[in-house]
Structures are given as C-alpha cells and as structure tokens.
Symmetry: C2
Subunit: 492 residues, 2 copies
C-alpha cells in the first residue's frame, strides 16, 4: 500500500499557517465536546525514523488542553512489561472516557520490531495482527475512536534527514548506530509494515497513510483527518447513529457443557479429606517452586454463589503456596475511576507476571453475572462479553505461556439459606452477611440462567470451567487444590 | 546492637502451636478493627538471607483477610525506579487507610546494599538514615503504624542453612553464587546494618530485633510484637491519646522573604515581549535537549490566583519544549482513592524521571493554600506541611540531581475582577468561570495570608519561589520562561 503514495505532495505555502490555525481551533473545541460526551480517543502516530512523528505530535498538543490528554511515547518494553502479554502495557495506557491518548509510536512499532527478528514473519505476523485487531475492536466496541497514522518517506529522504540531524550538534547524539542500522534495513521492513497496515486496516480502526516528504503537508493531512473523523463521530452520536459493538462469537465453546452439581457423587469423611488436603498442599508447594523457577504464570478465578465458601477455599488452596509468589485480587464493584475504562482493563492490570499465581476472588465474569442480572450494563454489552473474555483468556495463555483455572463454587439453594442463617446468628460472622446477599438470593433463578450461559459459552479448551461441588466445604477445598495441581502439572 | 542478642533463645515446644493459633486469631480481629478505624499499618521484615523472612511472612498472611493487605517483595529497583528518588517506589507502596502493607525486605535492604558498595559509608549512611527517618516520620504523623523487624542469625548458622537449601533439589537453584558472595561479606555488612538500626530506631518507627536461630521463637516474637503494638495503638485511639504529628521546622527559609507584586517595575510593549518570548523559546528547546541528554529532571510548579493565567503561561512556556520530554500534571481536588493515602503521595507519583520536565498545574502547595483556607485539613496538618514539603523538595533535588522551579502568579484583586467579568461575558470562555471562583474571591484576605506564609516558609535556597507579576500576561510569560531557562542553565 505504501508504494502507492505520491511522496511529492506539498502543502500550499501561502495558506498553511491559516489552515493550521483553523484546525487547531476546531480540535480545541472538539476536545471539550468529546470530554462532555465522555468519548475516549486514541490517536497513534507511526512512521519511519525522522519522518516527523515528534513534530506532528508537537503540533497536535498545541491545540489540546493538558488536562484532557496523555502522551505516551512507546519504546522498548521494560523488564516488567516483557513478563506480561504483548498488549498488557497498551491496555493500561488506554484513555479514560472523554480523554485523548496520543501515542508516539505504539503497539505497531513494537510488533514490527519483533517480526523483524524472525525469518518466518509471514506466518507469525498474522497472529499478531489478529490479536491487535481484537484489541482495537474491543476498544471501538466500547465507543473509543481510534485514529492511526503512518508517516511515509523514502529511504533516500530518511538518509538525508538523519545526516542533517548529525550535522546539528543539538541533535547529533540522537542519531545512534542503532538508528543507522534500522535505516539500512529499510527495504526489509517495508513489506512487514505493509502487511501490518493491510491486515489491521479495519472499519473500526482505519489507517491514514501520510505522505511525509513535505512536513507541512503531513501535518495538515493528520490534522484534517483527526478533525474530520472526530466531527463525524460527534455527528453520529447526535443522530443516535453511533453503532454499538455487536456480539461476536469467536472461540467455539466445548461440545459438552459443564454441569452444575452442589454435592459430590462420592462421600468422604472429614478426616479423609483433611488428610488428602495436607498431602496435596505439599505437592502444591513443590509445583509452585517449579512454576516460579520456569517463570510460568497462573491465574485462578473464583466465582460462585454467595456463601459458597470462596474465601475459605482460597485460603486453604493458597496456604502452601510461597507467599512471595502468589497474590489474591479481591474484586469488588468497579470504582468511579475504573468505570472510566473498558471493563476488562482493571483485571488485565492484575495479570500475573513470571511464575506468579494470581488468585481472583471474583473476576471478569462479573460482566455476565451480576452486571447482567442487575442490568448494570446493556444486553449488547454482556452478550458481547463472552467473546471478549474468551479472546482475553486465549491471549493471556498464548502470550505468556501460562494457564487459567476457573472455579464455579456451586451450592444448593437450601445450603445457602442454612449458611445465611448461621452467619446471621453468629456475632463473629454477622459482618459477612448483608442485605445485598438476601436481595441477590431472591434473584436466584436469574443468576442461575446467567451462570449456565456463562459455563456454556466460556468453557473453552484452553480455559475450561471447573464446577466445585461446595455443599461440603472440605470436599470443595480438596477438589479445588487437585484441579490447580493438575493444571500446574500440565503447564510444566 | 545485634551482638547483644542471645541467639540461643528457643520457643517452648509444647505450647507453640496453641500460642501461635491465639496470636493468629487476635491479628485477624485486629485487622478488621484497624480497617474500621482507617488506620494504615506497615510491617517490614528485614534480616539475613535464610534467616526466615519468607516463612515469617507466610505465617503472618495466614491470619489476614486478603482484601486488607498487600505484600511487597522488595528486590533490586527496575530501570524506571532507578531513575527516581530512592524512596519513590516505597512511597507508591505505602498502604491506604485501614490496610496493611507487608514488606519482605524494604528500603533498608536497598540502603544497606547501596552502602556496601561504598568505602566511605559511615558518612553517606547518615544522610540516607536521615532521609528514611523523615519518610517514616511523615507517615507516622499521618497515623500510620510502622513495625520493623530484623531477623538475626550468626554467620555459621546462615552457612548451614544455605547448605541445607543446596541439598534440597527444590530450593537448590535459589542459592545463587551472589547469595554466597553476600554470605562471605557477612562481617563487613554487620556494622552497616547495626548503624542503620541504631540511627533509625525512632519513637515513631522502632525496631524489634529478633533472635532467629529457632524459627518458632522468631515467629512468636514477631507475632507477639505485632499484636501488642496494634492493640496498644487501638487503645490509644480509643482514649483519644493518639498523638497527632506536630509541626517541625527543618529547613531554614531564606532570610529575605519573597514579596508579591502584581505589576512589573518596568513596562514593556507587547511587541517587545513577544519578540523576547520567541528568542527565549528557541533557547528553551536547546536547553531541553541538553537536560534530556544529561538525564536531569526538572519540576515546575504553578500556583497563583484564579484567573492569573496559569494555563496560558504553561502553554507558552511548554511551546518550545520537546513534547516527548515534558508533561503537564493537572492537579484537582484529590479523588476518594487519593484521599486514602498521605497527601504527598499523589504528587510524588508524578515526579519526573531522567531528563523529563514535569509541569504541575497547581501542586502540593494546595495543602497550605486551599486545604488550609477551606479547612479541609486540621491546623496541625497544614502547619506540619511546610516542613514536610521542604523535606520532599530537598529529597527530590538531592536524590535525582534535578531542580524545582516554583511560580506564584500574582494579580491584583481588581485585575481578577476584570478577568472574571470578561470570562462571564464571553460565550467561548464562560466555561472557565465557576461559582467556586467567586466564592474563593470572597476569601481573598484569608488566601493572601496563606500565600504570604507559604512564600516565607517554603522559599528555600534549593527551591526558591519566583513571584510572577501577572497583571500583564505577556510579561508573565516572558518572566516565567526566563526563570525556567536560568534554572536549567544552573543545572547543566
């Protein structure tokens, strides 16, 4: 696609300043309107070294209120970032509602640089592009406007610019040997860049290719595209024509749906179970050492009825893990701050790094459970969530080499009542039971439908659900620990 | 101090389990009470390698609700952390109100490891200990309970334990050559550790030295100390006897207090000023390159009357900075989340890294301005803040080699009225003026007193205030830019 561009295009000298000034004014007003309408915007500028990324950014920020944008300059990932899935650090940098996130380089530069290392990039690039498309689609479905620019210059032009920088004592130190090395590989990277642009030029996040030989032409083209796209977006919002992301089934669920049982088929005595538990806990500790040594991360998500015993189960399972190698993420209703972002972001933030075990006490499945039943989000939103969650889980496993264990702690409705009454009658436990628990109980049937749909649609081969029969707490703890152990063994 | 310990102490075998169990129960209840009373707690465990830090932590977390604590395992700082002041990453890990932050190793291990590299540690250690004491005192003054433990074993005992670990295939890989190297330097590090403990054993953050030859003895001693200290704290809170941190003047302010003027002595034409500004902006860009190249960070804090022109001034000053090397931190009222921490934390979080310029649109001085006048904090709190702020600024400069520029934008009361009326009459600017601005204006005299005290008490040699006469906006921009340029030149 890049070879189709006419790199001789130039801005009209006479009207440049005036045109730029008018775009700046329009963008400044647009920023305020977008903020009022709570629309998040991503503007990413990619391009060759010395093509003018910094200068373009410089012109854009001139028209923005600093309180409403963040500028992210994307360089090599840090040690911490490298231990996370590829998109992890970009998820954390997505803009909150009503704000603009400007990217000077982005996931594309990182992806291109990775593919450059590979001889078989034509194969691997497809997977990466697909992953990026999922990311951008999820954000766009959440109403984010995504603008992508690539500033194109020829190899010869790049050479001249780098030499020019070398002659200027102020900028000479920026032209490192590695910059020249990348320049020498201009022709090798061209097809990779081209492929990426082709494969990620989507309806929800289209590319604008920018002829950047003439700096002014480039700046005006970027500005005009930003202003027009944002004006169109606001227009669509006003007409109520803005499309909400539609559900999309991507990963096929398992053929045999997971069945819920509240009691195990075989009955064990408490002594038997406690003994099994003790021996399993030692096995767990050993496996944890191995996961740690081989830097394999593991996520354990706990969901279940109120009073199903999640807390106690987590404590018992974690008891023989190394405390420096696991952490519990207690999930409550999202805070005001968290609500400003895509609902998955607050979970992705807590993804485990090398060899860590992250235990989620409730999880991202809240979207298709409580948020569905209590109508905290629209039907389209939670319908879309099944596919989004499957994508997220697959991406974590694929990117990190880790595993995901998902527990549904099932108790019968009678058992729940018994436990509620016990809690209410015990002064040491009364704090554990709230009005909300009783209200949730009244909606048992609605929750049941939500749970069954969740189990059916998100039990995948790579991240299956395990139902834990939890009427008997000791049995539940043994089964949970056994499941974690089996998952860890599979990963090693 | 460590040589005074009787390392042969042992726990009573018979009662161990029962005693431990009772401590666990007490700590579990204490955690809930502390949460209800919103008291933050720091528990840090230091000690020799293999002295049992992980095991002790393991026992402590067993009694804690995972929703109420965070465990921080402190290792070598990352690249990003190294570019920040020494205590930066620990500030970010301080616990919110009502929560417990557990540290497996801490700023002490990092400080000891740094001093170990130096031949002249006896001199530098003093400064570091002083810095740590300030940090801990500021947190304690903010009602944080700080518990510090050092697990002590002999060199011989350490050797045996490391050998034992080497024999176990599960743990052998943990005993790296670097661990043995540290072991060989046991005797060299002993006096450094001892000095640190002596110099940081304060009333507000005392050390508990733990004889750790017998693992059970160590665990019981740590547990009993935690439980007793926390029970005592709650008792003191109940009696209303908990001491609030008293103000403490640490850094002497300049002898000649900074005077406020709203108009410059000499009058320039707008043309003159614009011309000066243009030439200064090029100088600024060049200096910014040099700061960036030499990795020197700079902070610019803007304070001033409402409508004094902070926003426009910032935009003009930043106009010729490299957009990838500066950022604006807009400071609004603290969020609910931010209120859970020491008031300085949210500013420290945004401290600039290598070569960056951080521009604060309002700053940490809110504590002694709006929070004082509107009584959002107690008199003791804001009185204490002058010293705390001076300490924080000195620490930033000392640790990072960077600089701080502080602007007070002064306009006359009449000029403010004129600007308010202009804004109210302009449909494009009306959003800039709120009811709150008018209310603040009524308290002009109170604010004036607060400003004068701030200028007098926090204009230090290392971070002086500059009053910007802002009745004339163009003059104000020129003066601000000149001041930043002078500060940058001084740093280079």
């Amino acid at each position: 696609m890049l070879d189709k561009l006419d790199l001789t295009k130039k801005a009209d000298e006479g009207s440049y300043e005036k045109t730029l000034e008018s775009y700046k004014e329009r963008l400044n007003i647009l920023q305020r309107t977008l903020r009022d309408q709570q629309i998040p915007v991503i503007i990413l500028i990619e391009g060759w070294n010395a093509a003018g990324i910094t200068m373009t950014i410089h012109e854009i920020v001139q028209s923005l209120d600093p309180r409403g944008y963040a500028l992210h300059s994307i360089e090599k990932p840090t040690y911490e970032e490298r231990a996370r899935p590829f998109l992890w650090r970009f998820w954390l940098r997505t803009p909150p509602r009503g704000r603009i996130a400007l990217f000077a380089r982005s996931w594309y530069s990182r992806a291109i640089s990775e593919e450059m290392q590979k001889h078989t990039w034509e194969k691997s690039l497809k997977g990466r592009a697909n992953q990026i498309n999922n990311f951008e689609r999820q954000l766009a479905d959440d109403n984010t406007v995504i603008l992508k620019f690539f500033l194109h210059i020829t190899k010869e032009e790049q050479k001249q610019r780098l030499e020019e920088r070398e002659r200027n004592p102020l900028t000479a130190w920026l032209v490192t040997p590695s910059i020249w090395n990348i320049h020498r590989h201009y022709d090798d990277s061209l097809p990779i860049i081209d492929q990426f642009i082709q494969k990620t030029d989507t309806e929800y996040a289209p590319w604008t290719l920018v002829e950047a030989t003439d700096r002014r032409y480039a700046i005006l083209k970027v500005y005009s595209s930003i202003v027009k796209t944002l004006e169109k977006k606001l227009e669509a919002e006003k007409d109520g024509k803005a499309k909400k992301g539609k559900p999309k089934e991507i990963v096929k669920p398992k053929k045999n749906p997971v069945k819920r049982h509240s009691s195990p088929e075989k009955v064990f005595t408490k002594d038997e179970l406690q003994q099994t538990l003790s021996s399993l806990q030692i096995e767990m500790l050993e496996l944890h050492y191995l996961l740690f040594k081989r830097k394999i991360p593991l996520m354990i998500a706990y969901e279940g009825w109120d009073a199903a015993g999640k807390g106690g189960n987590i404590t018992r399972v974690a008891k023989f893990m190394n405390p420096l190698g696991y952490y519990v993420v207690p999930v409550a209703a999202p805070t005001e701050h968290e609500k400003q972002y895509h609902y998955l972001r607050r979970f992705i933030k807590h993804f485990p790094t090398r060899g860590d075990i992250a235990i989620f006490d409730r999880s991202w499945y809240g979207r298709v459970l409580v948020e569905r039943v209590e109508e905290y989000c629209s039907e389209t939103d939670w319908q879309r969530a099944y596919g989004e969650i499957n994508e997220m889980e697959e991406d974590f496993i694929y990117s990190s080499g880790g595993g995901i264990v998902k527990f549904w702690l099932e108790i019968s409705k009678e058992e729940q009542l018994k436990r509620f009454q016990q809690r209410a009658g015990d002064p040491l436990k009364i704090y554990k039971i709230t009005e909300e628990d009783w209200r949730n109980r009244e909606k048992w049937d609605l929750y049941e439908a939500a749970v069954d749909e969740m189990l059916a649609r998100t039990s995948t081969d790579f991240a299956p659900w395990t139902v834990i029969e939890s009427n008997d707490k000791w049995f539940a703890r043994v089964k949970a620990l056994k499941t974690v152990i089996a998952a860890a063994q599979k990963l090693l």
